[in-house]
């Protein structure tokens, strides 16, 4: 299919009529979503709300039943090199025989093209990306020796090395310590300030207001989307999470 005409080019991510199902139960139902460029956006929702499925469907890793996705007006296949993806860190085997720098260089494989091996330039870029996440001293470390937070930073470096205008991260703060969380968030904010779009699947409601400026609330359907200040309301939290949890989240967030 030729697609020379841009569709919704003013949105970093545009999703229309997206429905995804595993077996009989729909995981995502008729999602319409727009995320403008240059924001740092959280996707939140209860367990099983379809947060990971949404970004996997956007990236074409999961086949939708219906709907389409555009990044800056183009289908995802035309944008592969311009999207940095950080999967959940538990999705891979960390006992794989390789070192930290090697994993980061994987972010450059696409740009290198077929048959070409990463060389000195790739190595330098990988080290620079590792320095951005504070892991430059671990370049030659075997990946099985990393802690959870270090694994997460290596995954982030692998996406950074691509120098992509759009970053999509799946639960980057799950199971990492406070220091790593601070490193990751300040880095993501800096990328946002550079004009990049950062989309994060997030699980901790109490930090939504301080970390993000755009919010998508999801529970199989879209509950609400927009600037955090407009979307982070008791009504929306109730609709997404139910009565009890919404009260906790709103009361702790109200002190901001």
């Amino acid at each position: 299919m030729r697609d020379d005409t841009l569709h919704e080019p003013d949105q970093a991510l545009h999703v229309e009529d997206l429905t995804v199902s595993y077996g009989e139960t729909p995981a995502l139902w008729d999602i319409d979503l727009d995320i403008p460029p240059g924001v740092m956006c959280a996707i939140v929702g209860p367990n099983g709300a379809g947060k990971s499925t949404l970004i996997k469907a956007a990236l074409g890793l999961v086949r939708p039943i219906a709907g389409h996705v555009r990044f800056l007006g183009r289908p995802v296949n035309a944008m592969r090199g311009k999207i940095g993806y950080v999967p959940q860190r538990h999705s891979v085997d960390w006992d794989f025989p390789t070192c930290v720098r090697d994993v980061v260089e994987m972010g450059l494989y696409r740009a290198l093209g077929w048959f070409r091996r990463p060389g000195r330039d790739a190595r330098a870029r990988a080290i620079a990306a590792l320095a951005e996440v504070g892991m430059q001293d671990y370049a030659d470390r075997q990946i099985s020796q990393l802690s959870g937070g270090q694994q997460q930073r290596v995954f982030l470096a692998r996406a950074l090395v691509q120098d992509a205008p759009i970053l999509i991260l799946d639960e980057p703060l799950a199971g990492v310590d406070a220091a790593t969380e601070a490193v990751i968030i300040s880095l993501l904010k800096r990328l946002r300030d550079d004009g990049r779009t950062v989309i994060v699947v997030h699980h901790d409601l109490t930090t939504v207001q301080s970390y993000f400026d755009w919010l998508v609330m999801l529970n199989v359907r879209i509950i609400a989307q927009g600037p955090v200040a407009q979307v982070y309301t008791p009504e929306n939290l109730r609709a997404a999470y139910g009565q009890h949890l919404a009260m906790i989240a709103v009361s702790s967030g109200a002190s901001e």
């Binding site: 077996g23 090199g81 993806y85 999967p87 999705s91 794989f96 390789t98 994987m106 494989y109």
Partner: protein
């Protein structure tokens, strides 16, 4: 040496040896990726599913024609892989259950066909059962060319697509998000494994050939943390297992080559699991012992410094009973000897008492202080 020379003077032994070594190298190389992608049992299912194909190839060709037998084996192996994929996608069964079902159904069909063909008689069909456990002597020199061809193609493709294969083996989702044709690459790896199985069937048989995929890779993983080294090492271990198995079985009448090759590979696994530095069981047990001893020594130093502080005497002579009370357990004598060797404590007498006493040396004080500041610091003068 004369035995070796005698064995190698036989054309058959040389052929079997070359064939077994080549098969071991091919299976070792491709098996590395199968093991890392957690697909080693897929190889087992493919191998068992090749049996009905062997019989079908025999039926269609009307005799023991290697080309049609291998084509048949490849066909039913591929069919089995397809059925497995359909089962896991269309039902709620998990991969292991699908593997089990497909493996046993295809193997049962194969055995039924095999016994039926043998019941019909004919001299040629008698040899078919050799595909169960392999029959090395049946290998011809022309078969070596085919093995070499498969090996060369596999090696070329693995080298050409090295970084893509590495990426797909480590993180298929990321590879897909980057736009790599992951399904094609995965299918390529599976097809290559199926080809390795097909060329190895004659030698090792459908029942045992999976061991040649798994064992060299499992052994090689123990010795290295680099994918490239692992693949090369795995191919070498496979080749060595094949060669030594072929030689051992040639020394004695009635030793089936295939199973002996598998046993040789198993020895490599056993040795590697035990001895490999870093990952080997014995190595790890020794390292754990060393660590326990070192922590015991640090606790003695800390307790001695505690006593010295309490008595406001840097050279306070500690007696074993007091240290036992301070530590809550009786420290091992070897720990004192080790600390003495490292110059951290020195024995002193404390008349009129006759029991042994120790005092901290200046470097002992230094070490105790460092441990107190950071329990994870590394000692400057390790034992």
């Amino acid at each position: 040496m004369t035995l070796l020379a005698e064995l190698l003077s036989s054309q058959i032994v040389r052929t079997v040896l070359t064939g077994a070594a080549m098969l071991g190298a091919i299976a070792g190389m491709l098996g590395s990726f199968a093991v890392l992608r957690r697909q080693s049992l897929l190889g087992d299912a493919l191998a068992h599913a090749a049996l009905p194909g062997v019989c079908l190839g025999f039926l269609i060709a009307g005799g023991r024609d290697l080309g049609s037998i291998m084509a048949g084996a490849f066909f039913t192996g591929a069919l089995a892989a397809l059925v497995m994929m359909l089962i896991t996608r269309a039902t709620t069964l998990k991969t292991d259950a699908a593997l089990g079902i497909v493996l046993s159904v295809f193997f049962a069909v194969g055995v039924v066909l095999l016994t039926h063909l043998q019941g019909m008689g004919g001299a040629a069909s008698a040899g078919l059962s050799s595909f169960l456990f392999g029959q090395a002597a049946a290998i011809l020199r022309s078969d070596l060319w085919m093995m070499g061809g498969v090996g060369l193609v596999a090696l070329t493709l693995v080298l050409a697509f090295w970084k893509e294969i590495k990426l797909v083996s480590f993180d298929a989702d990321f590879a897909r998000a980057q736009g790599f044709p992951v399904t094609v690459l995965e299918a390529f790896l599976t097809v290559m494994v199926a080809l390795a199985i097909v060329v190895g069937l004659q030698l090792v048989g459908v029942v045992l050939i999976v061991a040649l995929l798994i064992a060299p890779a499992a052994a090689a993983r123990q010795w290295t943390n680099s994918l490239g080294t692992m693949v090369v090492l795995s191919a070498l271990i496979g080749a060595a297992s094949g060669a030594s198995g072929a030689l051992i079985s040639a020394t004695t009448r009635g030793l089936a080559t295939g199973p002996v090759v598998v046993l040789c590979a198993s020895v490599a696994v056993l040795v590697s699991l035990m001895l490999a530095p870093g990952r080997g069981l014995i190595w790890q047990a020794l390292a754990a012992r060393r660590a326990r001893a070192q922590i015991g020594e640090r606790r003695i130093l800390a307790a001695m410094q505690g006593l010295a502080d309490a008595h406001d005497d840097a050279r306070y002579p500690s007696e074993q009973g007091m240290l036992t009370a301070a530590l809550g357990y009786a420290p091992d004598h070897q720990r004192f000897a080790a600390l003495e060797r490292r110059g951290l404590i020195r024995p002193v007498t404390h008349p009129p008492e006759t029991t042994p006493h120790w005092e901290l040396t200046p470097s002992g004080h230094h070490e105790a202080k460092a441990t107190r500041a950071d329990p994870r610091h590394r000692p400057e003068h390790p034992s």
